[in-house]
């Protein structure tokens, strides 16, 4: 029966795993694997190069400021130089924190909706939509945040400032009736950044949620669970690692967001936690604003930017790597792991 033999060419069951093959690899294969391995490890080479070159270029600034680089709030890179990240680093972290407070629940809610609630017809369009949201350029987020969201969110800002001002974070020390006092605040930057983080959190945690074993879900239903009961007892515990990892990768993204933050904030040089007040800052936006002033490679200004960039890179690399490890763990045992 030749026809039967032919129909077996169609790929069918995705469950079976490839057999381990024990054989002497041919010359061609060894070269091939060498090339693959080299390109795989090139990611390490690139990361290493980034570290090395940032360190080399930042050296001058670190030598000049020493430990004061961490405790100085100003950014004066012409003589008499006096600069440090004591203001821009915490401001940036605060923006990222606000973004995470909004993005984590929203992103996970969207992921749960797509994987558990959405009708099958809507699933693919919604996944595409989240992909599209990730692909919308940050400059568009910046334009939208600056000119669409800003005028509309000021009313909400002033409501928060007037009625929840007893909470220290929302405390508003300026006149609450002047719109300009709300422009360019940490809070607005955080809201816009949160929208850029949502697609990351959603798509990563959705992937993990969708790997929840079907049998366990149906087991929960069979024990009389409602849909939310099933999610709470099966999907969420199964996806915990994925959610934590997604949150950390999102945090890395939020810490490093540049263009939208640069367009929205009014630069401030004294750190404060009053998030509704005008004035904020971040390392990435400082680099974006400042880089043009130093054409000459040996200048202190450029070296200072490299030093700030190194701090940002080190911080996000640690956060992201931890997140990636957590995500990788949560994947193992599932179909996509090795």
């Amino acid at each position: 029966m030749p026809a039967e033999a032919q129909t077996q060419m169609i790929p069918a069951v995705p469950e079976d795993t490839p057999r381990a093959i024990v054989a002497q690899a041919s010359m061609g294969d060894r070269v091939f694997r060498g090339v693959l391995r080299a390109s795989g490890w090139s990611v390490f080479v690139i990361t290493g190069l980034i570290l090395v070159f940032l360190i080399v270029r930042a050296d001058k600034a670190f030598r000049f400021m020493g430990a004061q680089f961490l405790t100085t709030s100003a950014w004066i890179t012409f003589s008499p130089q006096h600069f440090g990240i004591a203001a821009i680093l915490p401001f940036g972290i605060l923006i990222a924190l606000i973004a995470m407070i909004i993005a984590v629940p929203t992103g996970i809610a969207i992921a749960l909706y797509i994987s558990e609630y959405a009708p099958p017809r809507l699933k693919r369009p919604l996944i595409a939509l989240i992909d599209l949201m990730a692909a919308i350029p940050s400059i568009i987020f910046g334009l939208w945040g600056l000119l669409f969201l800003l005028p509309r969110i000021i009313g909400f800002d002033s409501w928060l400032g007037r009625h929840l001002g007893f909470i220290p974070v929302f405390n508003f020390r300026l006149s609450t009736s002047i719109a300009a006092n709300y422009v360019g605040s940490t809070f607005i930057a955080g809201v816009v950044v949160s929208l850029m983080v949502i697609p990351i959190i959603t798509s990563l945690s959705r992937q993990v949620f969708s790997q929840t074993p079907q049998g366990e879900r149906e087991g929960a239903y069979a024990l009389g669970a409602t849909r939310w009961g099933m999610i709470r007892t099966v999907v969420l515990p199964f996806g915990r690692g994925g959610m934590i990892g997604a949150t950390m990768l999102g945090l890395g993204r939020a810490l490093g967001e540049t263009i939208a933050v640069t367009l929205i904030i009014n630069p401030a040089w004294k750190f404060n936690y009053h998030v509704l007040e005008s004035g904020s800052n971040s390392i990435a936006s400082r680099i974006a604003v400042d880089f043009g002033s130093f054409p000459d490679a040996g200048s202190m200004g450029l070296s200072a930017l490299m030093a700030a960039g190194l701090v940002l890179f080190g911080m996000t690399l640690i956060v992201n790597t931890l997140g990636a490890i957590v995500i990788g763990r949560s994947r193992s045992g599932a179909a996509t792991a090795d």
Binding site: A3, Q6, Q8, I10, P11, E15, D16, S26, G28, D29, R33, V35, L36, R37, G40, V43, I46, T47, I50, L54, V56, T106, A109, I110, Y113, Y117, I130, M133, A135, I136, P137, I139, I140, G142, L146, I153, F156, L195, I198, I200, Q214, G215, T226, L249, G252, T258, I259, A284, A288, F291, A297, M306, G309, L312, T316, L317, N320, T321, A324, D338
Partner: protein, 387 residues
């Protein structure tokens, strides 16, 4: 035998994975409860927000409407159902809001940019002129994005050429060689996908521009874009390669194929549509990046079609500089640039969705028809031989 083939074919593509149990929960009561809560909240919100309390602002109105709506919904639901059911319905409603919110935001951003950008784009010369003869005070119909379009296309093509081959090779390494040694690579690739976008620009500035002496140019910008795109390509391609069925690989090995033969002739062709999607999505991500090119591309107001020499402007950079100008005409032009950018992203996105229809190995209708014809030819030839 014809009947035999037909049954075998209809049986074969049936997925073996178990399909989820579907539970229908839409009833008249649930719909009416939703509608009632929404309408009641709207009314109360209007009275409180607009008439009684001294609040203002559109956003605040809808935030308080949503809070009121949830409270109303909980209350109405508590009249009808037990605690378990109320909790279940409450969470269905809140989680569904997430989906609606995401949709609304994306549509709003695209629509806002397109509508605001139309004022610039409606002048047909916007896409054929550069900013060489246009100042901040020039009217909107003078000056355009021709130079930025050229810059964007050249930079993204170069960045794609640099990052895609390496990214796909790295993905093949992760998926085909794999093993314990590949795990740190995967972790780092995951970590680098959300690398701050300004860092790749800073790296190329420190490495290529200041150390090697490459001038600030379109090529330097495409190097920075390539650093940003590489982990994205790798991550997305690896996911695609992983779903290539292991049986296909085994079949190739059983026919005596070596590993590189198997990868080149079986794995990559099977995953072709998915890989194309991965690449196009990475291009869509790369094309909108401002921060990497900001530091190393320079900014030119006139046309510079040579990416290797002289400063070059790309679309996101154009928008970034124009929006910071206080002149109204410049701001309109910035939205025109945003219009062009978002249309480019949308087009790339549509292409990606079109080519990457199903899972790898799943054939399009045309491919299936071609296979059908081939099969018919083979079986005719065989019958001829046996006769």
């Amino acid at each position: 035998m014809a009947a035999d083939t037909a049954t075998a074919q209809t049986a074969a593509p049936e997925p073996a994975a178990d399909t989820p149990l579907r539970i229908h929960t839409v009833t008249a009561e649930s719909v009416l409860t939703l509608a009632g809560a929404a309408a009641g909240a709207l009314g109360l919100d209007w009275v409180l927000y607009e008439r009684v309390l001294p609040f203002s602002g559109v956003l605040g109105f809808w935030v308080s409407w949503y809070v009121l709506f949830l409270v109303f919904y909980l209350a109405i639901a508590a009249f009808q159902w037990d605690t378990q059911a109320v909790r279940d319905r409450f969470f269905s409603v809140t989680l569904s809001t997430g989906g609606i919110l995401a949709t609304a935001i994306v549509i709003d951003q695209v629509a806002y940019t397109v509508v605001r950008g139309y004022a610039a784009v409606k002048h047909p010369r916007f896409f054929t002129q550069t900013m060489a003869n246009a100042g901040p005070l020039s009217p909107v119909d003078v000056g355009g994005v021709a130079h930025a379009l050229v810059g964007t296309l050249e930079q993204i093509v170069l960045a794609t050429l640099l990052s895609v081959p390496l990214g796909i090779l790295a993905a093949v390494y992760l998926a085909e060689v794999g093993g314990r040694a590949a795990r740190p690579v995967r972790t780092l690739v995951d970590a680098m996908t959300s690398l701050p976008d300004i860092i790749s620009g800073l790296f190329i500035l420190a490495f290529a521009v200041l150390t090697i002496g490459l001038p600030k140019s379109g090529f330097a910008a495409s190097l920075a874009l390539a650093v940003t795109m590489l982990p994205i390509v790798t991550r997305a391609s690896e996911t695609v390669l992983r779903i290539v069925p292991g049986t296909l690989r085994e079949a190739a090995y059983a026919l005596g194929g070596s590993q590189w033969r198997t990868v080149l002739s079986v794995v990559l062709p099977t995953a072709r549509s998915g890989l194309a999607t991965a690449v196009v999505l990475a291009i869509a991500r790369g094309i909108g990046e401002t921060a990497p090119v900001l530091l190393v591309a320079g900014y030119a107001r006139g046309m510079n079609a040579n990416p290797f020499n002289g400063w070059q402007t790309s679309l996101p950079l154009y928008v970034y500089y124009e929006i910071q100008s206080p002149a109204p005409a410049d701001r309109i032009r910035a939205f025109g640039g945003g219009f062009a950018l978002i249309i480019l992203v949308l087009v790339l996105f549509t292409i990606a969705r079109r080519i990457g229809g199903g899972t790898p190995g799943e054939l399009t209708r045309r491919q299936r028809r071609r296979l059908e014809k081939q099969r018919a030819r083979w079986s005719r030839a065989r019958e001829g031989m046996s006769a």
